[in-house]
């Protein structure tokens, strides 16, 4: 499934929301969306059945629990979107960190490193908190994102050493990423959605094979770079927790093995997060293979069960 990556709504809606959020408590908006918006979305969007199956098949929930959690998932997603605009409006959130030392250690090095994120929790709220003072930080963002969101980001990043690398169809962003890493900078990119290059790597995830884009793992292992998984999970209405986890791989191994090890480490951490916060999974498409597993040429992982 290719990365859509754009926020619902137009420029004026976003501007209006930001204006209101400057003065109003976010919880008012949470309540409004939970009562009036989310139920309509559940009726109109196929995400409802996709997430329902996710809870039933991947987490083994019963019918009613899965249904309730589907509603909760959509409410949390709406809160994530509201929190993003609240951040643009200047609101602050309490942020707790686990594994910050791993980030500090890599930030001290001259070599660049990579932060891999996922579409869970709310990376944008605090993922950019992990910015080293003397090491430029490059964030991969979707080129087609709404202008109001990009303006909000630019405003937040003004005066910092955070740069945005827009994802583009001609894949030029890959070269920009490589240049940044070669220059000893940090690059942040999601590793759970395929975009542009169709090359993928299949890894067991929550008990079933799933495809992950090969790009992030290819870029990291090409230069033998250290890689962190960074996930930002919502813990209360005004609090988030950042999890920073090193992703080990054998830098002396053949390249293919390196990518497989790195991908496996990333997915292992993703699985840990999703088990801790199952309602904060926001890949609203068929993430897992529906057909029996057959390893793609040169990219499959041995030992994966064929059946669900």
């Amino acid at each position: 499934m290719e990365w859509a990556g754009t926020t619902f709504g137009n420029r004026w809606m976003h501007k209006g929301l930001i204006c209101m959020l400057r003065w109003a408590d976010v919880r008012l908006f949470y309540a409004f969306t939970a009562v009036f918006i989310v139920p309509v979305c559940l009726v109109l969007n196929e995400s409802r059945s996709i997430i329902y199956r996710y809870f039933r098949q991947r987490h083994g929930y019963g019918v009613w629990r899965a249904a309730w959690k589907t509603y909760v998932n959509h409410c949390l997603f709406s809160q994530v979107v509201i929190d993003r605009f609240a951040m643009f409006a200047g609101k602050k959130f309490h942020v707790e960190m686990e594994g910050y030392d791993h980030f500090l250690q890599l930030a001290k090095q001259e070599a660049g490193f990579i932060q891999l994120s996922s579409h869970i929790g709310n990376y944008e709220i605090a993922g950019y908190t992990l910015v080293a003072q003397h090491k430029p930080f490059n964030a991969l963002v979707y080129y087609g994102e709404k202008q109001s969101v990009m303006e909000g980001r630019e405003q937040m990043f003004a005066g910092t050493n955070i740069k945005m690398i827009p994802v583009s169809h001609d894949m030029s962003h890959l070269f920009m990423i490589d240049n940044a890493l070669e220059n000893g900078e940090t690059v942040s990119l999601p590793a759970d959605r395929i975009f542009g290059s169709q090359k993928f790597i299949t890894v067991p995830f929550l008990g079933k094979p799933a495809d992950f884009p090969l790009g992030p793992f290819s870029v990291a292992t090409m230069r033998g770079l250290d890689t962190l998984a960074v996930n930002v999970m919502k813990t209360s209405s005004k609090s988030y927790k950042i999890y920073v986890t090193p992703l080990p791989y054998s830098k002396d191994a053949p390249r293919k093995q390196q990518m497989e090890e790195l991908a496996s480490a990333y997915v292992k951490e993703l699985e840990r997060m999703v088990k801790l916060y199952p309602e904060q999974w926001y890949n609203f498409f068929e993430f897992w293979k529906s057909q029996p597993f057959t390893p793609p040429h040169g990219r499959g992982v041995a030992g994966v069960d064929e059946n669900d």
């Binding site: 894949m171 890959l174 070269f175 990423i177 490589d178 090359k199 290819s218 090409m222 293919k256 040429h297």
Partner: protein, 80 residues
């Protein structure tokens, strides 16, 4: 560096790093259509060429490089 050395090195990394089948590697082979090289592979190629030949490919310079023979020509022009 001779043309032959360039061809041998390129062929080696196409097989070893990009896992391209040797029977698909001819001078007339088209990079994308015949060898399946896509944009993600180009990033690898940039790094591998830098490591093997000592110069960094500029993506815009590869715009007109469609075949393996043209790729050899390009590298030869850079290293000579």
């Amino acid at each position: 560096m001779t043309r032959t050395e360039i061809e041998e090195r390129v062929k080696a990394f196409l097989i070893d790093d990009l896992e391209i089948e040797e029977e698909n590697i001819f001078p007339e082979s088209r990079l994308k259509e015949d060898m399946g090289i896509d944009s993600l592979d180009y990033v690898d190629i940039v790094v591998i060429v830098e490591q093997n030949f000592g110069f960094k490919i500029k993506p815009q310079e590869m715009t007109n490089v469609k075949t393996l023979s043209q790729f050899y020509d390009y590298i030869e022009s850079k290293v000579s």
